[in-house]
């Protein structure tokens, strides 16, 4: 039974950390892999360093954070230095032997730097900009993760990949967890979020089949569509089940057949 869990960077602050930790404990060391996100630590470190956040706007008006070189340096320090270490310390405190890695270590996650991005500049005109230090995972080598789990320890993975040009790249945490879940042929992938699962017409969807994902993607908001995309990638890669659930409220039991909370997605 191998379980991959993706949780936000604030899991330790919210008390949800404890629920998550309990789940990991219940699985025993060496059977779970935790992938964490960033959260407010990255933003506040950037602020403290005087790095102002950069944003770019897509032609259809979507504004998103832009990772330039300076931001990437701060991102590594916050993500790999601070957040990852705090989670590992917290797990050790609970008796769960754990090891912090990023996708650079091993190397485990190989990514392709994004090409140019089409944006709208301040003058309202279309413009291409360099993709920045953000990447798309193209390959996972699970050898290091297996070496760690086989030694009875839990890998805690920061979503940073090594580019084909040997640069550190910021990668999406959900997609990184999905790629890992596929590569290790995980029994289940938990994508923990702050809502109770896939919400449609005010209710939580209990079950989704892989072939229904494209249909759902059009009907859910941005954020959840990314999780569905990750779910699809994990299933295609060989993960057997994906559960999108609320990380703040506890309850989805790893390994249980009946998931009372959250949305279960299977092939």
């Amino acid at each position: 039974m191998v379980t991959v869990i993706k949780a936000g960077g604030s899991i330790l602050q919210k008390g949800a950390g404890t629920e998550l930790m309990k789940k990991i404990i219940s699985m025993g060391s060496g059977n779970s892999i935790l992938v964490h996100g960033g959260g407010p630590t990255v933003t506040s470190l950037c602020e403290n360093l005087g790095i102002s956040p950069k944003f770019i706007t897509s032609p259809n008006g979507i504004r998103s954070r832009y990772t330039d070189y300076e931001t990437m340096q701060a991102f590594i320090m916050a993500m790999r230095g601070k957040i990852n270490t705090e989670i590992v310390v917290e797990l050790q405190k609970l008796g769960i032997r754990s090891v912090g890695i990023s996708g650079i270590d091993g190397p485990t996650l190989i990514a392709e730097r994004k090409g140019k991005l089409l944006t709208i500049n301040e003058r309202g005109r279309k413009m291409v900009v360099d993709g920045g230090y953000t990447g798309r995972i193209i390959r996972v080598d699970p050898a290091l993760i297996f070496a760690i789990t086989e030694s009875g320890r839990t890998p805690v993975v920061s979503p940073i990949a090594l580019s084909t040009e040997y640069e550190p790249l910021n990668v999406d945490g959900d997609r990184a967890a999905a790629a890992i879940a596929g590569a290790v042929q995980a029994d289940e992938l938990f994508l923990l979020t702050n809502v109770d699962g896939v919400i449609l017409d005010g209710g939580t969807v209990d079950q989704i089949r892989q072939d229904e994902i494209p249909g759902f993607m059009k009907r859910v908001g941005s954020g959840m569509d990314k999780k569905l995309m990750a779910a699809e990638e994990a299933l295609k890669g060989g993960c057997r089940k994906v559960i999108i659930a609320n990380g703040n409220t506890g309850s989805p039991e790893p390994g249980s057949t009946d998931h009372e909370m959250g949305t279960v997605i299977t092939a």
């Binding site: 897509s58 994004k114 090409g115 413009m127 291409v128 900009v129 993709g131």
Partner: protein, 57 residues
Amino acid sequence: MEAECEMCGGNIAVPEDVIQGEILACPDCGLDFEIQSLTSGHISLRPAEAIKEDWGE
């Protein structure tokens, strides 16, 4: 300023304050061009088709 579309020969209007990286469309054939370089009044354009619109990751 104006530039000539390499596809159809149409006239592409170039704003005075254009900067490198901006995209201009040919009014005749609709092809997008990226401002590749700007040196003392000389503008070099290249077709911008290959640029992916990649968001949400």
